[in-house]
Amino acid sequence: MAHDGHHDDGGSALDEMTLRVRALESLLVEKGYVDPPALDLLIETYEKKVGPRNGARVVARAWSDPDYKARLLADGTAAIAELGYSGRQGEHIKVVENTGQTHNMVVCTLCSCYPWPVLGLPPVWYKSAPYRSRAVADPRGVLAEFGVTLPPETAVRVWDSTAEMRYLVLPLRPAGTEGWDEDRLADLVTRDSMIGTGLALAPAEVEAGA
């Protein structure tokens, strides 16, 4: 490959962070702590297969099936596992339901604990210091920045995640979706609506974007 050098020594160069990860990974492989194919599979899972769509399936099922919803609120970990989604960290997932009286919002003030099995990897803002501190101190202000305005009578409850306990918000089912099947409902469920920094989409918002 004729790639005439912008590297003066004619070779390749890896950045500092890549070198550090390669150093760690190659040592762990040699010592038998990790298996490269398993590692690649994991990366692919987290990058592509796992994502907020899993959580959307859970929400759509809860909107459609009152018995499932009752199980989900009683024992989130078990009800989510019914759909085949379970975590590798052994954490519990508690599902908190939005109502007209209460809007729930999730944060991790310590670092960035997040319900990976249902939401994939956390967005950058979830991990940022401003979100982590302000979600607790000024949840309505943060919601306003996300474009969410709640009625004054709706209380905002903030849930702080830990290594053992992760939270998933069950958003309010949008009006005008009576009789919709789970596939259509799942398209209304955004990642942010399951963190509590957004609401589920209205039917018109999906049609406008389609």
Partner: protein
Amino acid sequence: MSGGAALDAVPSIPRDDDGPVFSAPWEAQAFALAVELHAKGVFTWPEWAEALGAEIARARAAGDPDTGETYYHHWLAALERLVAEKGVTSKAELGDRKDAWDRAARATPHGEPIRLGRELET
């Protein structure tokens, strides 16, 4: 994604577009290494959360703005520290291996895969 436009006015909260959450391949590698080491029982998840939290606190004390963009830097630093504490490897071993990768990369013509030992072949 709802509320995206409103967030544009708030530069202090970085965000993505519901898309890739890793900004570079090394971040996904570092993420997967921690998950895999936990699965192998090298550390518990509470131990990991504590190590990561401590690393973030250390970085903030040292002036890191902690906007989320340096998050995986902290992730990797916490991982390096924890595996050394667990006796899996050591700081010196990691440093030597990193230098070896650096030499291997520089000895590899552009466009060819970089592998360890390459630097010894010429």
